[in-house]
Symmetry: C2
Subunit: 191 residues, 2 copies
């Protein structure tokens, strides 16, 4: 059994908490009022919008040392829906990894709309969670949580691939915002 702490109680935080619960894992769900509550999990999911990550790292950074930290953000410019707000040759995840040298940082869940995490399906497909990171054990730990909750985890490669996952998440959001796909649809993985 894994022990997850999820920081953020929005749609994504709730959907990931439910997923972990379905798999029989312990879940601590922390909201913005819980800044004083110690993190108990070994896998910490930063389920907050990208602009809020900086605050979480300032408040919680020291407590994240030694832990697996999961970045789920899509760092879009939500004013224009026309670009990401991170360096063109980088990613939010690489920024977070640089700020947390004592943590093992992963990218995951940013290519999944919350509804597809909750339902476990994307049309006729089983929802697949793409996971990128440099630590193989950390990826396996998170993949076990995803698989046990009835979804499918897929290793998308090294931390550097977070850049492509953010591009995919960005594209998918623009497709949904422009009504080319629904918020229960999107980009899925066929084995």
């Amino acid at each position: 059994m894994a022990h997850l702490s999820i920081i953020g109680t929005g749609n994504m935080g709730q959907a990931i908490a439910a997923l972990a619960g379905r798999g029989g894992h312990a879940v601590q769900l922390l909201g913005s009022d819980d800044a004083g509550v110690p993190i108990t999990g070994d896998i910490v999911v930063l389920a907050v919008p990208y602009p809020a990550v900086r605050t979480v790292l300032a408040e919680r950074g020291d407590a994240l040392a030694g832990k697996v930290v999961v970045d789920i953000t899509n760092p879009l410019d939500f004013e224009t829906f026309d670009s990401l707000t991170v360096a063109a040759d980088g990613s939010a995840t690489e920024e977070i990894a640089a700020a947390l040298p004592g943590s093992r940082v992963l990218k995951a869940f940013n290519t999944n709309f919350a509804s597809t995490l909750a339902s476990g399906s994307l049309g006729a497909l089983t929802t697949t969670v793409l996971i990128a990171g440099d630590d193989t054990d950390a990826k396996a730990d998170l993949a076990a949580v995803v698989d046990s909750g009835g979804l499918r985890a897929l290793d998308a490669g090294s931390l550097k691939r977070a850049r492509e996952l953010e591009a995919l998440g960005f594209l998918q959001i623009t497709l949904a915002a422009n009504e080319k796909v629904s918020w229960t649809g999107g980009l899925g993985v066929v084995a």
Copy 2:
């Protein structure tokens, strides 16, 4: 009926020619020995690897003025499989558009493995061709060819979105090369 000229007789060129043929369109398929043969189509598909585009543009650039030009490339570093070879904030398609100011340039087909163009399906899904470009009429003309061939075309946005389509194509190739998905699978679109 549209008239397509396809430059490149590899797997992708053949699959796109077959797709257009199924839809009842006229197709001219040009190989590397056909440099002297005039282009007859109104929609010209550059179905060559990214490094060969430069040669095609040098030989054929003037003849592409006034035409819809479709870039299908995935400009990967095939030595490392770890990066793209275009500017981090750009795309192969934007490079080609800059070199062909008299053409209407689209990105398409780079997120489709050839087998899924030939079969028309990606697992349980109908193969979806994502098309990016700034010219709405050009996108509609190509979409009509795709749809008439039994596949599904989806407008992925402006030419700037070619960057995200190239990231998606890159990610998909790394997943297949690492045997995380098959070359008949990959990333599909669920409406």
